[in-house]
């Protein structure tokens, strides 16, 4: 175990922090990793084959465990005890999902691991909206390759050359499990509409991979994985980092300030121990913030000094701005054609086996909105949970043998269509310090401002229209009342848990917080390696890109350290 003086302090142990720790320790640097949550061991803490009947309330979600009893999230969810946040008056709703555990949200995430495409890095050049990144797809592509090979990603397929939907080079991906019955079924409707259905890229080990266990094709990934067959920071990044002997992990350490030396360089961080309430400092030659986009912005904004009276690296007022999420909504249908299938095991590999990438790149004008969305589609005979009766018609009040027969026939005949779409950054979406509210330890909390743009609400309307058309084509009926007005059907800000962009990278100090390597313009030995650096929020889920960017930035940091340039 490493001891002071540390070369680098990393704040946060999720995708960004975990990857930074992995690379920096392997590069020989002594690293102190500060995690706000408790220690967490997926090997002993994952309820792999538990049934819902073993859990209180049959596993249903509660304010204590909002995504269900077995969701991996520890001490968190939409609210974290003692650590409030606020939403500004007049703002549209915003919600913020935080765990308090080693590995952060990588323990429960959806494992969807899509690369951003070339257009996603240059959106302004394409249609004049949003902002261009200071890097191109080609700059990040080698890091995507390395990341996929390290974390284990399924979805191998012959190159298709679809627009803005990169094919990974040979050897990066493993083959997905075959499409399940419902996936075979829905694909036919999209095919008839001229829309491609392709293998999902899932961070799941579906074949042989050296040093890793193969998926058991059972149990939901959201519970975590005791055998490390999917990607979690706590199974894939932190154990090998620990094995270098260069890593010290300090859990329950809530960082609230980056400290500066007289020369204006980062000298370390201040944090409070969440268990004892005691305040501590730690020092190092460099600081990496990877606390999650919201928390990273909060630390910067709370790091006030005479040199940075409005918060560290915030001279140009860019910290907290350009907060983005994904556009999201779901429409589900029930399909008579899927009723009464012979017995089949649909547990699958955890992620969807196939998905629908955005298909409208050359039709944006006629569609009436810029950018697009991909479709994640769920269904099949999954382990029953409390809402099971939802597969029945709403006027079905049968009991006894008739009820049993109806349930058997309809089990697995519901398919849910989830849209996940790009959001264009706007001036109404940002976070700042709340002038009045503090956390339990007196540290000011974040206040969020949110307003979807028309680009997003129109896109949401198109999602609903598309899903209804697909359901109809497949002979199904939508479940429940479907809201067709995109402005009303669209998810809440933050609800997709893809909040990114509060300390974006850029080519100039005046309109960004960090450079193309996540290095702060204002404080050169301060780096950001989480989703805060994202310049756009494409439809593709951000985790794989956060990992690839964190690796690339950490490599730059390690090079500077070797050159004595920190």
């Amino acid at each position: 175990m490493a001891a002071e003086p540390y070369d680098v302090i990393i704040v946060g142990s999720g995708a960004g922090g975990g990857m930074s720790a992995y690379h920096l320790t392997h590069a020989g640097l002594k690293v102190l990793l500060l995690e706000a949550g408790r220690h967490y061991d997926p090997v002993t803490e994952t309820p792999m084959f538990n049934t819902n009947a073993e859990a209180p309330l049959r596993g249903e979600g509660t304010p204590d465990k909002p995504f269900g009893f077995y969701d991996a999230t520890v001490d968190g969810g939409w609210q974290v005890p003692n650590e409030p946040y606020t939403v500004a008056e007049g703002s549209e709703p915003f919600v913020w999902w935080r765990p308090r555990m080693l590995g952060g949200r990588t323990n429960h995430w959806g494992r969807i691991a899509l690369r951003f495409g070339p257009l996603d890095f240059k959106p302004r050049s394409r249609d004049g909206l949003g902002y261009d990144w200071p890097i191109t797809y080609d700059d990040l592509a080698p890091w995507y390759d390395k990341t996929e090979r390290l974390i284990g990603v399924s979805g191998a397929a012959p190159p298709r050359g679809l627009t803005n939907t990169p094919d990974s080079p040979e050897g990066c991906l493993m083959e997905s499990a075959p499409p399940r019955a419902f996936e075979v079924f829905y694909a036919r409707a999209f095919k008839a509409m001229g829309i491609p259905v392709i293998p999902m890229h899932g961070a799941v080990v579906t074949g042989h991979m050296a040093g890793r266990n193969t998926c058991l094709f059972a149990t939901p990934c959201g519970r975590g994985c005791a055998i490390g067959a999917n990607f979690q920071s706590t199974t894939v990044l932190l154990p090998p980092a620990m094995a270098t002997g260069n890593l010290t992990i300090r859990p329950n350490s809530l960082v609230y300030e980056v400290e500066l030396d007289k020369a204006g360089k980062a000298s370390g961080v201040a944090f409070v121990d969440r268990k004892t309430g005691e305040h501590h400092s730690a020092s190092a030659r460099a600081v990496v913030l990877a606390a999650g986009s919201g928390e990273t912005a909060r630390i910067l904004l709370n790091s006030k000094s005479s040199r940075f009276p409005d918060g560290l690296a915030n001279t140009h007022g860019m910290v907290g701005r350009y907060l983005m999420d994904s556009v999201g909504l779901t429409v589900a249908g029930q399909f008579p054609a899927m009723e009464g299938l012979p017995p089949t095991n649909d547990d699958g590999q955890g992620t969807q086996h196939t998905y629908v990438p955005w298909w409208g790149y050359d039709r944006q004008k006629e569609l009436g909105f810029p950018r697009g969305y991909h479709i994640e589609i769920g269904g099949g005979r999954r382990m029953p949970s409390m809402p099971l009766a939802g597969v029945l018609d709403s006027d079905d009040l049968s009991v006894g043998d008739e009820l049993r027969a109806n349930l058997r026939r309809r089990f697995g005949s519901v398919i849910g269509f989830d849209g996940r779409g790009e959001m264009i950054p706007n001036d109404d979406c940002y976070c700042e310090l709340d002038p009045k509210v503090t956390d339990k330890w007196g540290v000011p909390v974040l206040r969020f401002h949110w307003k979807w743009g028309e680009s997003e609400t129109r896109q949401a309307g198109h999602m609903v229209e598309t899903f209804l058309a697909v359901i109809d084509k497949l002979g199904g009926k939508p479940l429940g009342k479907v809201q067709t007005d995109g402005a009303k059907a669209i998810s809440k800000g933050g609800e997709m848990i893809h909040e990114v962009g509060t300390a974006r990278m850029g080519a100039r100090e005046t309109d960004s917080v960090v450079n193309a390597f996540g290095q702060s313009w204002a404080v050169p030995n301060l780096f950001v390696t989480d989703g805060a650096v994202l310049v756009s929020s494409p439809d593709k889920n951000p985790t794989l890109s956060i990992l690839a960017l964190a690796w690339r930035s950490s490599d730059h940091l390690a090079t500077l350290a070797k050159q004595g340039a920190l």
Binding site: R38, T44, E45, T46, P47, N50, T51, A53, A55, P56, L57, R58, E60, T62, P63, D64, K65, F69, Y70, V74, D75, G76, G77, A177, P178, A181, F185, R188, A192, L216, F217, A218, R223, A337, M338, G340, P342, T344, N345, D346, D347, Q349, R381, R382, M383, P384, M386, L388, A389, L397, V399, G400, L403, R404, L407, R408, F411, K473, L474, G475
Partner: protein, 230 residues
């Protein structure tokens, strides 16, 4: 660590009877709070004593934000159904999912205890259900006395059907009660291994590979897709 559901429930008698809780003894004693208030009638099974039941003066605590997920403890809050409400809940379970040729009854799987756990829970969704369900149970109990002159636990199967069946065709509170309690009974029943067997869920087993759908499944799909012109 005790299991919330016994794996081998005793055979059910045909005659009307009070509901015998399928909760292990230690758990039930913890809810009652007094050791002498419950009497053991067999391994892992208790009948509640008189002190059991009643609405809480102060809402109990939930299981918290960091419960043991691998070996979940029984839900920690005290159960609030009275003896009569629990018996009525059992009768409702008998009406919705009585034993079938190859599947046990909801009663045998402890679903009445689950309904008690649900309405007793301190969380918002369950607290919303609480008055709806408890008042529905109370209405059924008093109707049983009025129509049949006996407690619901003493009704024959035909009398029980005559009492509960009309709720599905009713309006207002009775229908709302029946819809809600039926959803809960279905959810509770089919989340058990016996429920998996009845509905045809064959997953939750480790596999070396996922072979994909069988030829029979694919043939079924092709027939259906052809009908849809796909």
């Amino acid at each position: 660590m005790s299991q919330p559901l016994p794996t081998d429930p005793p055979p059910e008698p045909e005659a009307p009877r009070p509901y015998v809780s399928r909760i292990d003894r230690r758990t039930a004693l913890a809810w009652v709070g007094v050791v002498g208030a419950a009497a053991a009638v067999g391994a892992g099974v208790v009948v509640y004593g008189r002190k059991f039941g009643g609405q809480p003066a102060v809402e109990a605590k939930g299981y918290g934000t960091d419960p043991d997920l691998v070996k979940p403890a029984p839900a920690p809050w005290p159960r609030i159904m009275t003896r009569a409400q629990l018996d009525t809940a059992a009768a409702v379970c008998d009406h919705i999912l009585p034993a079938a040729a190859a599947a046990p009854s909801a009663r045998a799987l402890g679903v009445p205890d689950f309904l008690n756990e649900w309405v007793s829970a301190p969380y918002p969704d369950q607290r919303k259900d609480r008055p709806l369900i408890l008042s529905g149970l109370d209405r059924l109990a008093s109707r049983s006395q009025r129509l049949h002159g006996k407690a619901i636990a003493a009704l024959s199967a035909a009398e029980r059907t005559a009492l509960i069946g009309p709720m599905a065709a009713a309006k207002g509170a009775d229908l709302a009660f029946f819809r809600r309690v039926r959803r809960l009974v279905i959810g509770a029943y089919y989340t058990t291994p016996a429920g998996f067997k009845d509905i045809g869920y064959i997953g939750n087993v480790a596999r070396a590979r996922d072979p994909g759908p069988s030829a029979a499944v694919l043939a079924h799909l092709e027939r259906e897709l052809a009908k849809l012109g796909l």
